[in-house]
């Protein structure tokens, strides 16, 4: 979503992005004239008249699970976004019985919050696991 019109989106997709991604952009490119939606989401910069690189993870109940906002010159890390989605999906699938510790990615150890784990995380989980 950006402040550009749907016509500009079409031009950008047809003339540039479709040369970078086979079949063009696979998801809807949304138009937010005047930054009305961006204002509600806290990413619209009134002075510049544009939106920051905001990224919101919204779960199937419509609840915001996480977000990240960057100023324009630095791009996102798609892998990190996917990792976060996978972690939230795991938590949801287990009904909160499992939690994803720092550095978790699919296949790595989860933690099972409960009274026995209080003060005992150091036995179950090592700091090195936070890193790839």
């Amino acid at each position: 979503m950006s402040i550009d019109s749907q016509f500009t989106h079409k031009m950008w997709n047809d003339h540039e992005l479709s040369r970078m991604v086979d079949g063009g952009v696979p998801f809807p490119m949304l138009s937010d004239a005047g930054g009305k939606v961006g204002t509600v989401y806290g990413v619209y910069d009134e002075e510049a008249g544009v939106e920051a690189r905001g990224r919101f993870i919204i779960d199937p109940d419509g609840v915001v699970q996480g977000y990240e906002v960057l100023t324009p010159p630095v791009g996102r890390n798609v892998n990190e976004t996917m990792r976060q989605v996978q972690a939230f999906q795991l938590v949801r699938a287990t009904g909160g019985a499992e939690a994803a510790p720092s550095g978790w990615r699919p296949g790595k150890q989860t933690l099972k919050p409960g009274i026995d784990l209080v003060g005992n995380v150091w036995k179950e989980w090592k700091t090195e696991q936070a890193f790839d």
Binding site: M1, S2, D4, Q6, F7, T8, H9, K10, W12, N13, E16, G23, G24, V25, P26, F27, P28, M29, L30, S31, K36, V37, G38, T39, V40, Y41, G42, V43, A48, E51, A52, R53, G54, R55, F56, I57, I58, D59, P60, D61, G62, V63, V64, Q65, G66, Y67, P72, P73, V74, G75, R76, T81, V85, F88, Q89, G96, A99, P113, G114, L117
Partner: protein, 82 residues
């Protein structure tokens, strides 16, 4: 006394019962300023937006995606470089 499973969220306490009185008028006015309604763990504000998708112009409503995971991304503008 009710037992509670220990989760990741830190349990909190607070006043119980009805909230006290009405908000004074001066306070209501300061709250009127437009501010972001985004909080993690809270509902994402619904919206409708026109868009372009695979050769068609479309209209997208966020709440139509209930039941699915959604990644909502904002960016400064088409043809920007990053």
């Amino acid at each position: 006394m009710a037992k509670k499973a220990a989760g990741c969220a830190r349990p909190v306490g607070g006043p119980v019962g009805e909230e006290s009185g009405t908000v004074p008028e001066t306070e209501q006015q300061t709250v009127k300023e437009v501010q972001s309604m985004i909080k993690v763990g809270k509902k994402a504000p619904d919206f409708v937006a026109p868009g372009y998708h695979k050769g068609e112009f479309v209209s997208v409503k966020l709440s139509e995606y209930l039941g699915k995971w959604v990644l909502l991304c904002f960016y400064p503008g088409d043809f920007t470089f990053v």
